[in-house]
Symmetry: C2
Subunit: 114 residues, 2 copies
DNA sequence: CGGTATCCTTTATGATACTG
DNA sequence: CAGTATCATAAAGGATACCG
């Protein structure tokens, strides 16, 4: 086995081991993840709806970010076995809890220009 | 950079905030940037001090992240023409203002595991 | 409809050598 | 001491095709 170093270990796990802030930022660091959370909270809870309201993003990338958000426990998906299949995304309590903090970041960002 | 998705006027303020959130996360998205801000706030205000307290990071990468933080107006550098040269980094008001928000993110992160 | 598989491009990070 | 230049690698993002 090859010895693990910080450069070949899992980036995610490494960043999380560094500190909680780094870990939190890593979870939100996907390019569209914050937007996805906000849009889901606004009722855009379907794959195709998200594609409509997000800036142009490929199926592949949107799917990956949704998978990662689900893996992090920020969203859940409910698969309804209709034809065609229907999937409803919704925020978990954890996902909802981060939105007010994101709002604070937005306010901070507004003031940055002075 | 993030294009607003037009739906209706009542969403406008909300959508602007979406863009600001994305912008704020972008500023903080560098791998070591949040850590750098925190360590500077704790008095680790020299290049070599930062190297000591951060996880292993190359000169090149640390230098780049410091440059970017300065460009974003989160830190300033004071160059003192001694021999050898001395540089003091410090937080701007903007840089200091984001730290409490990062703390909230850390608390949120702590609770994520249930 | 709601994705995944595959392949490609761009960006971020990293190692090393060198400089004022 | 405090970096930058150069080159290399890793990770993220994206285009396209296809599947249940």
């Amino acid at each position: 086995m090859i010895k693990e170093t910080s450069s070949n270990a899992s980036n995610r796990k490494f960043l999380r081991s560094v500190c909680r802030i780094t870990g939190a930022l890593e979870i939100l660091s996907g390019r569209w993840k914050a937007l996805v959370l906000i849009h889901i909270s606004e009722g855009k809870n379907r794959f195709s709806l998200l594609k409509q309201v997000l800036p142009p993003v490929s199926d592949q990338v949107l799917g990956r970010q949704l998978r990662e958000l689900e893996a992090e426990g920020l969203i859940t998906k409910a698969i309804i076995a209709e034809v065609p299949v229907r999937v409803d995304y919704s925020l978990t309590d954890k996902g909802a809890a981060v939105l007010p903090i994101l709002d604070e970041l937005a306010e901070w960002y507004d003031k940055r220009g002075d």
